[in-house]
């Protein structure tokens, strides 16, 4: 791994250099919301700082968009022609947070096991992630309980580049060859980092980890144990389910959730099959054509979603829990039963 220093005043020149050969997606304010938008020159440095600022949508939207066309078909006599839409753009995602990056790695594992999903991978392979570490978490953050942040682990984690906010400059930790190529875009902007910068980085991470409020979610491991050993009563799940509105918001904003549905359009001579985010909270998610629904009860669906995310079996299967502690489910849930509320309830 190489370490450099990039002065904040040089960031826009770096972006300019990068934008010559690929798209640069940086956090941008659009009508008070934060989106990842293509940037050619000027990056909003307020959104690229140590204070955690999250776009409403998780970065999974870049690899698994809310909806995408799988293929178009055209009828030609008695025959069909199927075409798959192109997707070739390479992009640098500048300023993605550790929780989102951890979410992407989670999706990477899922989207290549058993069968590899080429729609996912052709976007993913063209993305280079420049993670912005969080020196200062904000209200809903609990990544520290879920191994989702606030910094990526420089030793254990594989990543392209991690930026650490050192006030007037960034520490640039570069670990992959893709990351190295980004440095090469304008190498003069990058000075080799000295050991004191590394010490500052370690101190910042320590301080960040300690600045999370004593939080219900530090009881994450208790919740996981309880779920796995079936110690949670059906009444608890029913009670929690009563607050759930089946809106699907938690699954859509979660960096680790990946379920999708498929839609079909038929306009006479042509049509399209497309996929879109779906949620296991929906009552029709498991309903079979006969009308039989194995998860017809809301409490059952609610339980299954948390079982899936937190249970030890999930841990056994995929290596870590399906939550990175980004806190988006707290924002998105009308019933106030996001992850921390549930974890606290399960602990009791």
């Amino acid at each position: 791994m190489d370490r450099y220093i990039l002065r904040k005043e040089d960031v826009n020149r770096w972006v300019e250099a990068l934008a010559r050969t690929q798209e640069v997606l940086a956090p941008t304010r659009v009508e008070k919301e934060i989106f990842f938008a293509p940037t050619q020159m000027a990056v909003d440095l307020n959104l690229l700082s140590g204070t955690a600022t999250l776009p409403y949508l998780p970065a999974k939207d870049l690899v698994l968009p809310h909806s995408e066309n799988l293929f178009h078909f055209t009828r030609k006599g008695g025959d069909y022609e199927l075409t798959v839409p192109e997707e070739k753009k390479t992009a640098v995602v500048l300023g993605i947070r550790s929780c989102d990056t951890s979410g992407i790695y989670w999706l990477d594992k899922f989207y290549q096991e058993n069968f590899s999903d080429c729609y996912y991978w052709r976007r993913r392979n063209n993305l280079i992630l420049v993670t912005m570490a969080c020196n200062q978490p904000v209200k809903n953050c609990f990544c520290v309980c879920c191994e989702g942040g606030p910094f990526l682990d420089s030793e254990r984690d594989e990543f392209d580049i991690q930026l650490v906010d050192l006030q007037d400059s960034y520490l640039v930790e570069c670990k992959s060859s893709k990351g190295k190529a980004l440095i090469e875009a304008n190498p003069k902007l990058f000075a080799k980092a000295d050991p004191s910068a590394v010490k500052t980085r370690e101190a910042l991470e320590e301080k960040s980890r300690n600045s999370f409020q004593p939080d219900p979610t530090s009881y994450m491991s208790t919740a996981i144990r309880r779920i796995t050993s079936n110690a949670v009563t059906p009444e608890t799940w029913t009670e929690l389910g009563e607050k759930c509105f089946d809106c699907g918001g938690c699954a859509f904003v979660c960096p680790c959730c990946s379920c999708f549905g498929v839609g079909y359009l038929n306009e006479g001579e042509k049509g399209c099959h497309y996929r879109f985010w779906d949620s296991c909270d929906y009552s029709g998610f498991t309903r079979e054509v006969s009308g039989h629904n194995p998860r017809g009860e809301k409490g059952e669906r609610f339980k299954r979603r948390f079982f899936h995310k937190l249970s030890y079996q999930y841990l056994k299967r995929d290596g870590r829990i399906g939550c990175v502690g980004c806190g988006r489910c707290i924002t998105a849930c009308p019933g106030e039963v996001g992850m921390p509320t549930v974890v606290e309830r399960l602990r009791k």
Binding site: G271, F307, H308
Partner: protein, 275 residues
């Protein structure tokens, strides 16, 4: 990287009416290269699409030893199956697959075999029965039991007659309710159990049919001493992608489309949800 969501086109080459709402379709891939490369295992399924209308999973019902063409049997119950039922010989459909774990054929060699099929549960079992009959000598006692609601609800009636006549297998048939011409057994399929001398030792039983039939069959089989790990079935769930990604068929940490649909009852017992 191959595109797991892009179907290959296959033409309908034969349509057989089985019952008033069930048809068997025989398909052949339009592209000769795809046809040449196509192979499947018993118990696997295909995702068949009526383009622009929808896609659904269907168990393969033909012999994997002869994969140049392949058959599925489907009942018209929803938008996709209705659209497929309207199609004619020569029409094209989309095919993705084969998916699923399939039956571990070689594990059954040297054992006694019992098939218990109910109604439209026979088609996926047939994809295992036929290759087993091709290799009959690899198996010991061979018993097929089939039950349907009425004689008109039986599928594969021609093949049933042939099985009845085969000397190398034992065969029993029953209907819940007979008709004027029915001379055979009347009663649910479990009523055949005491009449057919089921051998418990070193036997694997394959059960497939409507949920209520499966439930009673398992009950009776357990009473007779069959162990759950020797009773095998195919689980049904609402499926969309067939490749373990969309999440619809997940039960606990298993995906029915990847870890199944073939499960034995010991595994099913460990699943956190009743089907």
């Amino acid at each position: 990287m191959s595109n797991i969501y892009l179907p290959n086109l296959a033409r309908i080459i034969k349509i057989q009416d089985e019952t008033y709402d069930t048809k068997t379709f025989e398909f052949e891939f339009a592209d000769p290269k795809v046809k040449q490369a196509f192979k499947f295992r018993s118990g696997q399924f295909l995702e068949i699409s009526a383009l622009g209308v929808g896609e659904a999973p269907f168990g393969l019902a033909s012999n994997p030893n002869r994969p140049e063409t392949f058959r599925v049997t489907l009942r018209a119950v929803g938008a996709v199956t209705w659209a497929l039922h309207q199609k004619k010989i020569g029409d094209l459909v989309g095919i993705r697959g084969p998916f699923g774990n399939g039956f571990p054929f070689d594990e059954y060699k040297g054992k006694n075999i019992i098939f218990v099929g109910g109604g439209i549960g026979l088609p996926p079992l047939r994809s295992l029965i036929e290759p087993m009959l091709d290799a009959r000598s690899a198996f010991k006692d061979f018993l097929i039991l089939y039950g349907a609601r009425t004689p008109a609800d039986q599928v594969y009636q021609d093949r049933l007659k042939e099985w009845e006549k085969m000397s190398e297998i034992r065969f029993g048939m029953t209907v819940d309710v007979g008709d004027a011409n029915w001379k055979g057994n009347v009663g649910v399929v479990t009523t055949l159990f005491p009449k057919c001398n089921l051998i418990v030792e070193n036997t694997v039983v394959f059960v497939c049919g409507p949920p209520i039939m499966i439930r009673f069959a398992i009950m009776e089989l357990s009473k007779l001493g069959f162990k759950p790990e020797n009773i095998v079935s195919t689980l049904e769930r609402y499926m969309k992608c067939g490749v373990g990604k969309c999440g619809h068929c997940a039960i606990g940490h298993k995906y029915v489309c990847v870890d199944g649909p073939v499960f034995n009852y010991k595994e099913i017992g460990k699943l956190p949800e009743k089907s």
